[in-house]
């Protein structure tokens, strides 16, 4: 089989075709029923919604994710398939449904970067529009669709990136052969694809102008595109829920011998904390999104005030998820920082237990603060104040992490390869993002800052510092493990030195504009605010960030093609995944290992973290 036909029969293509067929079937079905019932068929919205819903199983069937489960229904046992599909080369595993966590992790990673490029491209488009006052080349509606899509696409990208890191790393780190439910793992990834397709196609059927939050009553009146956005968001939630349950079970039941909770690599703690948020809170936002969908499609009246509904209910249900989820974004990222700092500082991770527990602390407090997004929504003061206090408390466990990182670096022997640069960059960027949070958390200052560009600056720096920078650090750091090659250090450094200053310019510029009175989500701004220069600078910075990301993409692709193999443990790390040579075996560790020490005992002579359990000799 030649390369092209392997691509054309890949699960991505089959999934897309399945989704299109499913959508057409669903659409036709409802249209036919409505025609038979004598209803107005010129209103295609119900048919589109139903089509979109049927398209998702269509996509999964087409890709072949459900095959094993369908066989189970009829009582057939199916062994897990390992390796490439029959008669196809090894690389085709990566474009087909595969149950190995490393393959899935890489699939997540690729998709995440691709989606990041798409979302970033939208940002670049509307940033150019914002570079000068007046409408340049977008209409209001196009602008609104672009920033709304940018927001939700970027969030999808983050969730995919979290999935990438967690899937690839956690089983390796805890010495498991795979995740607890490999098929469910594949499902979690593959269900995310039609979700992204839905969101993107929403842009072509009218778009939507609600932002990523989709507040009613506006989302009840928005164009048809909003339905596909809501459904895409909802389906994405299924992926989160399934993935996080899988992770929690894996960590609970499949740790290597001797790996007690406080001897796990610290990243695993971060993954646990993030999963706890994901598998609970996601359900409430799912319900909120469904409520809007049903209100629009079949007239259930939850939010429309003219008939007794209450739009504030949506905000509560939405933020009950969407606040905690920001900690899903950052916890794995902060886990990567904690994981890498000791390696590049050659010192133990300072206060391991406190860092581990602070992740749980952030997750826990994160559940109690959601209404800080609603300080100006007309809530009762008796409610506003407890939410203000609880919001402030998140600073404490987050601070513990920062202080412990400083103590880890102190008197270490630091070296500055690209991953370490990104770690240091992310500490600085996340710090400015973090410390601009409490000012939003105190109500009097939030009354000025709410829905201004200050918020935009705040969350870009938390998300870049807490996710994008550490994600890039992780990509560079584990690149030799994944590809067997070394990335080009010079290009990596160039990426860092372009992106970091540009990012600083962008987020400080956004915050400045916000303080001066620039509102969020506006297609055009009043030159009287005196933010014109700032806007130009932010746009330039956005372009530089975009270029730097493209440099990374180039670096990763071209380095993979080089001939020279990387060293087995280029960073001299103690973590178990670095003790085995490339390529990592299908089941990770051909011989199981046992934990005999602490993970980060750098500088302690003769200490070991893990050692192989001697296998009884076979044969002879």
């Amino acid at each position: 089989m030649n390369t092209l036909s392997i691509w054309l029969t890949s699960a991505y293509v089959r999934g897309l075709i399945g989704q299109i067929i499913g959508t057409a079937v669903g659409f036709g079905f409802i249209t036919a029923i409505r025609a038979v019932m004598g209803l107005d068929t010129s209103n295609i919205e119900p048919a589109v919604v139903f089509g979109a819903l049927i398209g998702v199983p269509g996509s999964l069937l087409g890709a072949g994710v459900l095959t094993d489960w369908i066989k189970w229904i009829f009582g057939k046992k199916t062994p897990l398939r390992h390796g490439a599909p029959e008669g196809k080369p090894e690389w085709s595993r990566y474009i087909n449904v595969d149950v190995n966590h490393k393959v899935i992790g890489i699939q997540y990673g690729f998709t995440s970067v691709l989606v990041l490029l798409i979302g970033g491209f939208f940002a670049v488009l509307f940033r150019i529009e914002l570079a000068a006052p007046g409408m340049q080349y977008l209409t209001n509606d196009n602008f609104n669709t672009l920033f709304s899509a940018h927001g939700i696409i970027m969030i999808a990208s983050i969730l995919l990136g979290v999935g990438a890191m967690v899937n690839y790393l956690v089983p390796l780190m805890i010495g498991a052969s795979d995740m607890a439910f490999p098929r469910l793992n594949a499902f979690s990834y593959w269900v995310g694809i039609p979700a992204v397709v839905l969101i993107l196609s929403g842009m072509f059927v009218g778009g939507w102008d609600t932002g990523w939050v989709g507040y009613p009553p506006l989302s009840l009146r928005a164009p048809l595109g909003v339905q596909l956005f809501l459904l895409g968001f909802y389906i994405n939630g299924l992926s989160s829920i399934a993935g996080s349950i899988n992770l929690l079970v894996t960590v609970t039941t499949m740790r290597a011998k001797g790996m007690s909770l406080f001897r796990m690599p610290i990243f695993v703690w971060a993954a646990i904390a993030a999963s706890i948020i994901q598998f609970t809170a996601t359900q409430t936002v799912g319900m909120a999104l469904l409520m809007v969908v049903t209100e629009r499609t079949i007239g259930l009246n939850f939010f429309n005030p003219t008939t007794g509904g209450n739009p504030i209910l949506y905000q509560h249900l939405f933020w009950f998820y969407s606040h905690p989820v920001v900690y899903v974004f950052i916890l794995p990222g902060l886990g990567v920082i904690s994981e890498l700092l000791p390696v590049f500082s050659r010192k133990p991770l300072f206060g391991y237990k406190w860092i581990a527990l602070s992740s749980l602390g952030i997750a826990f407090v994160g559940f109690l603060v959601w209404a800080h997004h609603m300080f100006t929504s007309g809530m009762n003061d008796a409610l506003r104040i407890p939410f203000m206090i609880s919001t402030m408390f998140v600073a404490i466990p987050t601070g513990v992490k920062f202080f412990s990182w400083m103590a880890t670096m102190w008197e270490g022997k630091l070296s500055f390869e690209t991953p370490m640069l990104f770690v240091l960059g992310s500490i600085s960027v996340f710090l400015i993002g973090g410390v601009t949070g409490p000012i939003l958390g105190t109500i009097p200052t939030d009354m000025h800052l709410h829905d201004s560009y200050w918020v935009v600056g705040h969350f870009h720096s938390t998300m870049f510092g807490g996710f994008v920078f550490p994600f890039f650090a992780a990509v560079y750091y584990w690149y030799p493990k994944i590809s067997g090659k070394m990335y080009k250090e010079s290009l990596g450094k160039l990426h860092f030195w372009l992106m970091t200053p540009a990012f600083w310019l962008m987020s400080l510029g956004q915050m400045r504009a916000g303080l001066l009175g620039m509102r969020r989500r506006i297609a055009d701004y009043d030159p009287a605010l005196g933010v014109e220069t700032t806007q130009v600078l932010v746009t330039v910075a956005a372009l530089v960030i975009g270029w730097s990301v493209l440099i990374m993409v180039y670096n990763l692709i071209s380095s993979a093609r080089s001939q020279k193999m990387a060293a087995t443990n280029p960073w001299n790390s103690r973590s178990p995944e670095w003790q085995i040579p490339y390529p990592v075996p299908e089941f990770n560790y051909d011989a199981p290992f046992e934990v005999v020490g602490d993970p980060y005992d750098y500088g302690l002579d003769g200490s070991k973290y893990v050692q192989t359990i001697p296998m009884p000799a076979v044969g002879d």
Partner: protein
Amino acid sequence: MRNRNHIINVTALVFIVTVPLYYLLRAIYALPQAASAEAVPIDQMFTGHFIAIAFLFSLIMVFMLYSAFVFRRKPGDDTDGPHIHSNTALEIIWTVVPTFVVLGFGIWGTVTLNDLVSAKENEMTIEVTGQQWSWSFAYPEQEGFSSPTLVLPVDQPVVLKMGSKDVLHSFWVPEFRVKQDLVPGQETTLRITPTEIGDYKVRCAEICGTAHSTMLADVQVVSAAEFDAFVEERTQAPVYAEMTPEERGEMWYTGGEADWASCAGCHSLDGTRLAGPSWLGLYGRTEELEDGTTITADDDYIRKSIFEPNAQIVATYAPAMPAVFVDTFAAKEAEILANEGIEIDIVDDLIAFIQTLEE
């Protein structure tokens, strides 16, 4: 001891860096003019937060950069650093101290908020209505007239009772600092005491659809005497027969005593882009329409734009104008005919008014 020296160096550096950093931040984080009594305590909180930000930022960054420079690995050295695991005393300190700091900010915020929301003596009530994409302000204590501009007497505490006709909007005048959403089906309140005479703008801060960015309204803070004059002008029953068409046109533009959606909500007179095109220099202007054709703004065009607002949409604008004016104008014209016995044409008045608005 080497260790002690490092600590002393860094501690000194943290404090030295905090001060210039604070001033740098203040230069970047500039606030607009403060024009209300509410802005005073809020700006104090901003200062408090900015000091905390400057200090925390310098604390962590000085430690980080100091380590990066002083503790960097020497070439050829591949030994590990000292084996230091943890230090309980330190950990307790950096948990407890921030706890008190954030509690302090929480209490400060509570006290300030209490001031902001508590009722003031002799408050004046104004009713604010938002709709896609315009504002209107009613003065129930002044015979209930309504106005597209928010005119406020200086130093007079006002309480805004706010509501929305359609979706969420948010009332924000950056110079006043405070902000409050307008929620359909619910009344929300906001208290403001303007302290500086001048012109400002209400900026809708909650995404409300297509023309959210242009949902603005003028705010004028005026002296008590000017406010009285404004009220008098707006409450006097106009005698249309005695007015010139231009005067009547201006009256229709601002909504006059009629309660239709005023033109001023969406069309500015000074070239500002609102939900609809500005009227400044409109008459005789060549407009490019959505479909790429161009058209000259003459009497016919203007009449058609008012009565069939969605027939000809100027490029880059949304079809946002309600198609209700055929009826409301006819009703008003009939009412004037009945009261004063003269026949007027509101659109002609408007055209006359627009003709006065040359660039």
